[in-house]
């Protein structure tokens, strides 16, 4: 399947600078694994060592959070739009 991946500003320097790229894969996990192979610098920001989704990364397929679609097993259809959004968090603690 061929999908479009939207990349946030924080990840662009490690991913060639583009804001949007075409990606291939039948599941979110396949897409992310391919990305970590192509861009090794982002590996630790996308997936845990066991292949699950990183706690501080939100991944959307179109308007849906993939945590509610099976996580890395979420299916990708042609022309889907995948958005990577690192969590924004902090606090006084």
């Amino acid at each position: 399947m061929s999908a479009v991946l939207r990349i946030p500003t924080v990840l662009r320097p490690s991913m060639g600078g583009a804001s949007v790229i075409a990606v291939e894969g039948s599941t979110v996990g396949e897409v992310l694994l391919t990305l970590t192979t192509t861009y090794p610098a982002i590996k630790g920001q996308l997936l845990n060592a066991d292949g699950t989704l990183h706690r501080f990364l939100n991944v959307y397929v179109n308007d849906d959070d993939v945590r509610y679609l099976g996580g890395v097993e979420a299916l990708i259809a042609n022309d889907d739009e995948i958005t990577l959004l690192p969590a924004v968090a902090g606090g006084a603690w």
């Binding site: 500003t9 924080v10 501080f56 939100n58 308007d63 959004l85 969590a87 968090a89 606090g91």
Partner: protein, 133 residues
């Protein structure tokens, strides 16, 4: 430098007041140079007085709105309910983007204080906050 209209500053402060006793938070849209064009309040999904996390759905909508309006998500704001308006070790460790502006409201004193910072490689630099009408 972070520049924002007084109405946007008021929106930001009101969001932080509404969140009390928890930390309030939200996103800043505008230019990466620090000119704020819109303030987008978020629920603090951490539901805490000591930490915050932007609602991922608000994050997604903010990025889409920014793209539609030719803007950038330029930073984030949050409140410290009992400590100074300075980035905590948690803030620094979780600062996602060196291009962002990190605004902090403190309720440690009255009146509340709004400050803004850049955070890059764990280095915190305060920047001026300019409010315009």
């Amino acid at each position: 430098m972070l520049t924002l209209r007084s109405s946007d500053r008021d929106t930001l402060l009101a969001a932080c007041v509404r969140a009390l006793p928890n930390e309030g938070c939200g996103l800043l849209l505008g230019t990466l140079e620090g000119v704020v064009r819109a303030v987008v309040a978020s629920e603090n999904v951490a539901d805490s007085a000591k930490v915050y996390e932007i609602d991922p759905k608000v994050l997604l909508r903010a990025y889409r709105r920014a793209e539609e309006e030719g803007l950038e998500v330029l930073g984030v704001f949050h409140s410290h309910t009992h400590s100074e308006a300075y980035p905590s070790p948690t803030d620094v460790a979780q600062a996602p983007d060196p291009a962002w502006h990190y605004a902090i409201v403190s309720f440690a004193h009255r009146p509340s204080v709004l400050r803004s910072y850049r955070i890059e490689n764990d280095l915190v630099t305060e920047e001026a906050v300019v409010v315009v009408d």
